[in-house]
C-alpha cells in the first residue's frame, strides 16, 4: 500500500515527464529568488560598450598623463611632473576659477528664471499651450548655432542700437570687454538651458495637489506665502535635481563659449574643458590629460557630495 501510494505519487514525474518538469521546477525556484537572466543580457552589452568606449579610453588617458606623450611619436614616463606643473600654471588656475564662477552663477540664474517661467506657465493663462511651445524653442536649437546668432547680435546689432539711443557702455560689443564677456556667456547659456529646467519644474508643479492651496486660501495665506511655505517645499526634490544636473552640465561648458568668444578676449573666458581640448591640437596631450584627471577627481567629489544631499532629501535621480 505504501509502496503503491509512493509509486502513484512519484510515477508521473518518473515516467514521462522527468526531463521537462525538473527544469521547470528549478526555473520557478530561480524566478523567485534570483534575477531573471534577461536583465543580464540587457546589461552586459551596454556595460561592454561603455567599458570599451568610455572607461578604457579614460584609463589610457590616465596612463599617458604620467608620460610626456604628444599624441604621436616617442614618449617616456615622467612620473607626476605633469601634475606638479599643472599646479604651477596660472593659466590653468584661471580657467578653473572662471569655470566655477560661471557654473555657479549660471545655475542660480537658470533656476530662478526657470522657476518663474514654470510658475507663469502653470497658472491658468490664455493660450497656455502656445506660450509653452514658444518658451521651449531654445531647447530644440543647437547650442553652437544659438551662440553664433547671439555673437552676431552682440557684435553688430546691439552696438548699433546702443549708439542710436545713446547707451555708451553698450556701444562696443560686450564680447570684446574682458570684464563683461562672461556675462554674455551666462546670458546665452541661461537662454538655452532654462527651458529644460522649466519642464522639470512644470512636472513638479503639476504634481502638487490643488487641495493644499484651497486649504491655504481658507487659512488666509497670500500668494507669496503660499509659494514660500507650500510650493517650494513640495517641489524641493525637483529643485535639487535641477541644481545638480545644471551645475554638472555647466562645469563642462564648451560650445557656447567657442561660439561666442573663443575663450577671449585675451584669456578671460577659457573654460577647463577648452584647456583640456587644446591638448589634442597643441601637442600637449599628456599635460592636458593630467589636467583632465584632476578635473575628473574634482567633479567626482562634487558628485559624491551632491548624492549625499539628495539621499538626505529622500530624492532619487
Amino acid at each position: 500500500m505504501t509502496t503503491t501510494s509512493r509509486v502513484a505519487q512519484t510515477a508521473p514525474p518518473a515516467g514521462r515527464n522527468t526531463p521537462t518538469s525538473a527544469p521547470a521546477k528549478t526555473e520557478t525556484f530561480r524566478s523567485k529568488n534570483r534575477i531573471d537572466p534577461a536583465y543580464y543580457w540587457m546589461m552586459v552589452p551596454v556595460l561592454a560598450l561603455f567599458a570599451f568606449f568610455i572607461t578604457l579610453p579614460a584609463l589610457v588617458g590616465v596612463f599617458f598623463s604620467l608620460t610626456n606623450y604628444a599624441g604621436y611619436g616617442d614618449w617616456k614616463f615622467i612620473g607626476l611632473s605633469n601634475y606638479v606643473n599643472i599646479f604651477k600654471d596660472p593659466a590653468v588656475l584661471q580657467s578653473y576659477i572662471f569655470t566655477f564662477v560661471f557654473a555657479l552663477t549660471t545655475t542660480v540664474v537658470v533656476n530662478i528664471v526657470a522657476l518663474a517661467i514654470a510658475l507663469g506657465l502653470n497658472a491658468k493663462i490664455k493660450w497656455r499651450t502656445g506660450i509653452r511651445t514658444v518658451f521651449f524653442i531654445p531647447m530644440v536649437l543647437s547650442a553652437l548655432i544659438v551662440s553664433f546668432v547671439f555673437n552676431y547680435l552682440f557684435s553688430n546689432t546691439l552696438p548699433v542700437l546702443a549708439e542710436r539711443f545713446g547707451v555708451t557702455p553698450l556701444a562696443t560689443s560686450i564680447l570684446a570687454n574682458e570684464n563683461l564677456a562672461w556675462l554674455a556667456i551666462v546670458l546665452v547659456t541661461v537662454w538655452q538651458a532654462a527651458p529644460g529646467a522649466t519642464i522639470i519644474y512644470l512636472a513638479g508643479l503639476q504634481s502638487v495637489p490643488s487641495e493644499v492651496y484651497e486649504a491655504a486660501d481658507l487659512d488666509g495665506a497670500g500668494s507669496f506665502r503660499q509659494f514660500l511655505s507650500l510650493t517650494l517645499p513640495l517641489i524641493l526634490g525637483y529643485l535639487v535635481i535641477n541644481v545638480i544636473l545644471g551645475f554638472k552640465g555647466f562645469l563642462g561648458a564648451y560650445e557656447i563659449i567657442v561660439g561666442l568668444t573663443g575663450g577671449g578676449p585675451g584669456m578671460a573666458t577659457q573654460s577647463v574643458a577648452m584647456r583640456i581640448f587644446s591638448g589634442f591640437t597643441g601637442g600637449d596631450y599628456s599635460y592636458q590629460m593630467a589636467n583632465a584627471v584632476i578635473y575628473f577627481l574634482i567633479t567626482l567629489l562634487i558628485s559624491v557630495i551632491q548624492l549625499r544631499l539628495i539621499q538626505r532629501r529622500g530624492v532619487s535621480l
Binding site: P19, P23, N68, A70, G71, Y72, G73, D74, I78, S81, N82, N85, K88, D89, P90, A91, F154, S155, N156, P159, T172, S173, L175, A176, E178, G262, G263, G264, P265, G266, M267, A268, Q270, S278, G279, T281, G282, G283, D284, Y287
Partner: protein
C-alpha cells in the same frame, strides 16, 4: 548535432545563440581590419597617397596628378585634402606617402620626431633657392643634416592697400616708419580709416600687428634660436627673454593699433574683408590669402601690397613670409621610388611656378621668373633679396595661446604684463617638454 542543440532545451539554445552572435560580430569586424591596410603595389601599379592641406587648390592638383599619371602609367596618385587625417595616420602607422603642409612649429615638431625621409640626395633639391630652404632648416634638422621638406610655395605678407584711395589722396607707398605714420595721419584727416582692424579674430592681430612690428624691429629667427638654446632656464630678466627683446617694439604695435577704425574690437576677419573690399579703409594688415576674398567681394578693387617699414632705414624693411606648402615624403613609405618621382614632377618649373603664379605666392625655384601680379609685386623685391622673416607668432608652440595674449595687450595696453606672460608660458612649456 548543432541543429539538435539549437532546437533542444533552452539553456544550450541560448548559449549557441550567443556563440552565433559572437561569430557574426567577428565576421563584421573582418572587413574593418581590411580597410586599414595601405594600398601598395598591385599588378605593377603603385598607388601613392598625396596629402595637401588647401581645399581651394584641389582642382589644380587633380589636373597635376592627371598629367603626372599620363607620363607615369605605373603610378596612381590619390589626393587627400583632409589634413586632420595626418596625425591619426601616424598613430595607425599608415601615413600618406607624400605630404605638403604649411611649415612652422607644428611641422618642425614632426621633423624632430623623424616622421619625414631625408630628401637631400634628390637632384631637385639643388634647384631650390637656398635662402628659402634655410627657412625650413632653421627650425632644426633631423640628425643635424637631413633635408626633411622642400619648399613648394612661399606666401609673403605685408600691408594690402587700396590703390584708388592712395591715388585719390596723393599718398605714395611709404618706405620708412615716419612716412607710414604720415600716410596714416593723412587718411585720418581726410576721414578715412587708415587701417581696417579685425580684433575679434585674435589671429589677425598676431599675424598682422604683432608679427610685422616684431619682424621689422628684431631678428626673429636669431631671437628664437637663442631662446630655445636657453631651454627651461629662462626668466624675465635673462638677456634672451621676451621682456628684454620685444620691449622697444611694443609702442609701435600700439601706435599701429590706434590707426584702426572705431569698433575694430567687434569686427572679425570676414567683416574686415567685406568692409575693406568696399573701400572703408586705406590699408589692411593681411597676407595674400585675403586677396581672393577681397576680389570676390568687389571685382573692381585695385589692390597692392608693400612690406611694412618699421624703422626709418628703408634697407631694414622686410616682408613676413611663411612656407605655405612644403613637400615631404614620410620615412616609412613602402613606395619611396615612386614618391620621389612624384616630388620631382611637382617641383618641375611648369608645375610649381604655375601654381604660385595662380595663387599669389612665390616660387621656391632659384630661377623662377619675377612676379608680375600687381597685387603682390610690391613684395617681390623683398622676397628676391631674401629680406624676409617668419612671423614671431609661428615660433610659439600651439599650447601657448599667443593670439589671446596679443589681444589682451591691445585692449589693456599693459606691455610688461604681456611680455612677462610670454616668458612664463615659454618657460612652462620648456619645462614640461624637456623632461
Amino acid at each position: 548535432m548543432s541543429a539538435a542543440a539549437l532546437s533542444g532545451n533552452a539553456p544550450i539554445g541560448r548559449r549557441a545563440l550567443l556563440k552565433f552572435a559572437g561569430l557574426a560580430g567577428a565576421a563584421a569586424m573582418l572587413p574593418l581590419s581590411g580597410c586599414g591596410a595601405t594600398p601598395g603595389t598591385q599588378n605593377g601599379l603603385t598607388t601613392l597617397r598625396f596629402m595637401q592641406n588647401k581645399p581651394e587648390v584641389v582642382a589644380y592638383f587633380n589636373q597635376v596628378i592627371k598629367d603626372f599619371e599620363a607620363l607615369n602609367p605605373d603610378i596612381r596618385v590619390i589626393q587627400d585634402f583632409n589634413e586632420g587625417n595626418f596625425v591619426p595616420g601616424l598613430v595607425r602607422n599608415d601615413p600618406p606617402d607624400v605630404v605638403t603642409r604649411g611649415f612652422a612649429q607644428a611641422t618642425a615638431d614632426f621633423v624632430k620626431k623623424g616622421i619625414f625621409a631625408d630628401l637631400s640626395d634628390m637632384q631637385v633639391a639643388a634647384t631650390i633657392d637656398p635662402k628659402m630652404q634655410e627657412l625650413i632648416s632653421s627650425w632644426g634638422q633631423y640628425n643635424g643634416n637631413e633635408v626633411s621638406a622642400l619648399p613648394f610655395s612661399l606666401a609673403a605678407a605685408g600691408v594690402i592697400y587700396n590703390r584708388d584711395i592712395f591715388e585719390a589722396k596723393g599718398v605714395a607707398v611709404p618706405t620708412t616708419w615716419d612716412e607710414f605714420v604720415a600716410a596714416c595721419e593723412t587718411f585720418k584727416a581726410a576721414g578715412i580709416a587708415p587701417i581696417y582692424g579685425t580684433y575679434k579674430d585674435p589671429w589677425t592681430l598676431s599675424q598682422g600687428m604683432f608679427d610685422y612690428v616684431a619682424g621689422g624691429s628684431l631678428d626673429v629667427a636669431e631671437f628664437f634660436s637663442r631662446l630655445t638654446a636657453r631651454g627651461a632656464d629662462i626668466s624675465a630678466d635673462a638677456p634672451e627673454s621676451f621682456a628684454n627683446n620685444f620691449g622697444p617694439a611694443l609702442p609701435k604695435m600700439l601706435q599701429l593699433a590706434s590707426f584702426a577704425q572705431n569698433g575694430a574690437a567687434s569686427k572679425n576677419y570676414a567683416d574686415g574683408n567685406a568692409a575693406f573690399a568696399k573701400g572703408q579703409a586705406a590699408m589692411y594688415l593681411q597676407g595674400p590669402w585675403a586677396l581672393s576674398q577681397l576680389v570676390a567681394a568687389n571685382k573692381g578693387i585695385r589692390l597692392g601690397s608693400f612690406p611694412l617699414p618699421v624703422t626709418n632705414n628703408p634697407e631694414d624693411t622686410k616682408a613676413r613670409v611663411n612656407v605655405d606648402m612644403a613637400l615631404a615624403i614620410t620615412r616609412n613609405t613602402p613606395n619611396m621610388a615612386a614618391a620621389q618621382r612624384f616630388v620631382n614632377y611637382l617641383l618641375e618649373p611648369s608645375v610649381v611656378n604655375t601654381y604660385n603664379e595662380k595663387n599669389a605666392a612665390f616660387s621656391p625655384l632659384k630661377d623662377a621668373p619675377a612676379v608680375d601680379n600687381p597685387q603682390i609685386s610690391g613684395l617681390g623685391a623683398s622676397v628676391k633679396e631674401a629680406r624676409y622673416y617668419q612671423g614671431a607668432g609661428t615660433y610659439l608652440p600651439p599650447s601657448v595661446p599667443l593670439n589671446n595674449y596679443v589681444q589682451s595687450f591691445v585692449y589693456g595696453k599693459n606691455g610688461e604684463q604681456f611680455l612677462a606672460a610670454l616668458d612664463d608660458e615659454w618657460r612652462r612649456v620648456a619645462e614640461r617638454t624637456a623632461v
